[in-house]
């Protein structure tokens, strides 16, 4: 493990929805060029944790730091107060996010989706943004789809376009929130292969996923979450193949059994 400063630090992140504690003082450090996969049963708080990183969810306790700078809030006389919306927006430009349901802008073509934020937020000249977008589309293997509307694309193509849109902001960190969960089985692979290539390019990635094989192959570290806590964390061969915690073992055997059923049928 590199001993450089972490790029993302989650410090004692807690979150409640009413009486329900979704996150319970979660600590996580992610280092530059590292890929961290978060796995765990649904309702374990993994998506909520990811959404706290770019402050789509406001934690009730704890702070998120990006390159040492607190995201979304600042300290004022010993209290945490929300930063100005423009300040939060600036911080978010450095954190790319890919959603389970793609969330491409439905009224814009693929190209318009990708150049919208660079032009509107970063002030990139239109021609430059377009050229960059075309390169990104080629990179995610969607060349020729510039003028297509999202709904005319398959799920896998939409998700790759969404990845290109997030990359267009040249983010320092990429967050993936179950990027393949809404996809047909046959298009999962094309999205995972794009993510694999991103990881090999040295992009810092936090990935919430159910794809155990992907985690095993690509992740530097795997975090298993349950009940709003990180129960177990470490290299994939340790967490996935030799889990020390009973809950991790149960979860993995459940997932592997489902998969066995699926291949049998």
């Amino acid at each position: 493990m590199t001993r450089t400063a972490p790029i993302v630090q989650l410090e004692a992140i807690s979150k409640h929805y009413g009486p329900l504690q979704v996150l319970d003082a979660v600590e996580l450090e992610v280092f530059p060029a590292e890929v961290v996969c978060i796995i765990g049963p649904s309702g374990s708080g993994k998506s909520t944790l990811l959404r706290c990183v770019n402050h789509l969810e406001r934690p009730d306790g704890g702070v998120v730091r990006l390159n040492g700078e607190i995201v979304g809030v600042r300290e004022s006389r010993g209290q945490l107060v929300e930063v100005a919306p423009a300040e939060l927006a600036r911080q978010r430009t450095e954190i790319g996010m890919v959603f389970q349901s793609f969330n491409l802008f439905g009224h814009m073509t693929v190209l318009e989706n990708i150049i919208e934020a660079p032009i509107q937020v970063l002030g990139t000249p239109r021609a430059e943004a377009k050229a960059h977008a075309r390169q990104l589309l080629e990179w995610v293997r969607l060349e020729g789809k510039e003028d297509t509307y999202p709904r005319q694309l398959s799920g896998g193509q939409q998700q790759r376009a969404a990845i290109a849109r997030a990359l267009a902001m040249r983010p320092k960190v990429m967050l993936f929130d179950e990027p393949t969960s809404a996809l047909d089985p046959e298009t999962v692979g094309e999205v995972l292969s794009v993510m694999r290539r991103l990881a090999s390019e040295g992009l810092t990635m936090i990935v919430v996923t159910h794809e155990i094989d992907f985690a095993r192959e690509v992740a530097d570290r795997v975090a298993f979450m349950d009940g709003g806590r990180i129960v177990e964390m470490g290299p994939p061969e340790q967490v996935l193949d030799a889990p020390t915690q009973e809950r991790t073992r149960k979860f993995l055997s459940r997932i592997l059994n489902t998969r066995a059923d699926a291949t049998e049928a």
């Binding site: 789509l56 978010r92 790319g96 491409l104 073509t109 934020a117 937020v121 709904r151 849109r165």
Partner: protein, 337 residues
């Protein structure tokens, strides 16, 4: 659990769902059966109904066309009369101004209602409560008579010094009263339409915009509102059409729009019915034009919303023409024994 044996007979596989609950075991041929005589009577009944409808329509139309009071030459004479045409123009101007005002107020109210500020929520609710809860006619009379209640209008600090003060009658002319009355009332209805449109856009859209560093305002104007338009446009088209007809209400405050113009004429000539028909022909013509315009605006905002390109009237017509016979005819297959 795969076996290489030949599959067991189907009945042996039946679980409680198929065996006891009889799911999938209904004999369609026995239970859903329409006898030939019933089919024949249904056909005869259909034709009788069609003939009756045609006769009734013909009767009404012929009475209307040949009635003594219905002087068609009078209708033609006044249809393109300069005063009537001026009335038509004023009706259009009133409709346009009131709708623009209504859309602006509606947008502001809708944003107030979805904002996180309780004060703004309550203020918008109060506005909608008052303007939707009282008759438009009463509102028009209220604005028209505003001077009797507030002789002068001023801008300043409540209960404190006033900066700008003007005589109400000089500002609220009957034309302004009409536009205010129609526009403010329309705003209450438009706000609900716009709010429904905004809320129809998946929350993920504004989240994605936020994650890309777009401000709430930019996300609203660039991402949410354009997609909300698909839901906003159709009911707004209805609002425009009902506004066009609603402008006739302002005849009560002596604005010489279409209805008031023909009223002035028939008060003099007593040709009441022909002149009302003149007004109706114009209203019908204008609402028809608006409906066609609405269709094209809807098509514009539907882009990216569907995999299919929606039909225009022209393509619909072509499809209809390419069919043989009338559109509901489907050849019936003879049952195979």
């Amino acid at each position: 659990m795969m076996t290489n044996d030949s599959p067991p007979p189907r009945d042996a596989e039946r679980g409680p769902l198929t065996a006891t609950l009889q799911i999938g075991r209904r004999d369609t041929a026995k239970t859903v059966r329409i006898s030939d005589s019933r089919r024949m009577w249904g056909k005869i009944g259909g034709w009788v109904l069609r003939i009756v409808v045609v006769l009734i329509v013909l009767d009404i139309v012929s009475k209307f066309l040949t009635a003594d009071a219905m002087k068609w030459d009078t209708v033609w004479f006044y249809l393109f009369n300069q005063k009537v045409l001026n009335g038509v123009v004023l009706t259009l101007v009133l409709t346009a101004v009131a709708m623009i005002l209504g859309c602006l107020i509606g947008l502001i109210l809708a944003l107030m209602k979805i904002s996180r500020s309780l004060l703004l929520n309550v203020a918008a609710d109060g506005y909608i409560w008052i303007f939707r809860g009282t008759p438009l006619l009463v509102q028009l009379l209220f604005w028209y008579n505003l001077a009797s209640f507030l002789p002068s209008l001023s801008i300043g600090i409540p209960f404190g010094p006033q900066f700008l003060e003007v005589d109400t009658n000089s500002v609220i002319t009957s034309m302004v009263a009409a536009m205010l009355g129609l526009g403010l009332n329309e705003g209450a209805y438009m706000s609900e339409i716009i709010r429904a449109g905004i809320q129809s856009v998946d929350h993920g859209q504004s989240e994605a915009a936020a994650a890309l560093g777009m401000s709430r305002r930019r996300a609203m104007s660039r991402v949410v509102l354009p997609q909300a338009m698909r839901v906003i446009v159709p009911p707004t088209g209805n609002q425009v059409i009902s506004m066009l007809k609603g402008t006739s209400l302002v005849s009560i405050v002596a604005i010489s729009e279409l209805l008031y113009t023909v009223q002035v004429i028939y008060a003099r000539t007593f040709e009441t019915i022909p002149l009302l028909v003149v007004a109706c022909i114009w209203y019908l013509f204008l609402t028809s034009v608006l409906s066609i315009g609405q269709h094209y605006i809807e098509k514009y905002y539907a882009k990216g919303a569907s995999r299919n390109v929606p039909d225009t009237y022209l393509t619909k017509l072509k499809k209809l023409m390419s069919r043989t016979g009338h559109s509901s005819y489907v050849p019936r297959k003879e049952p195979v024994e």
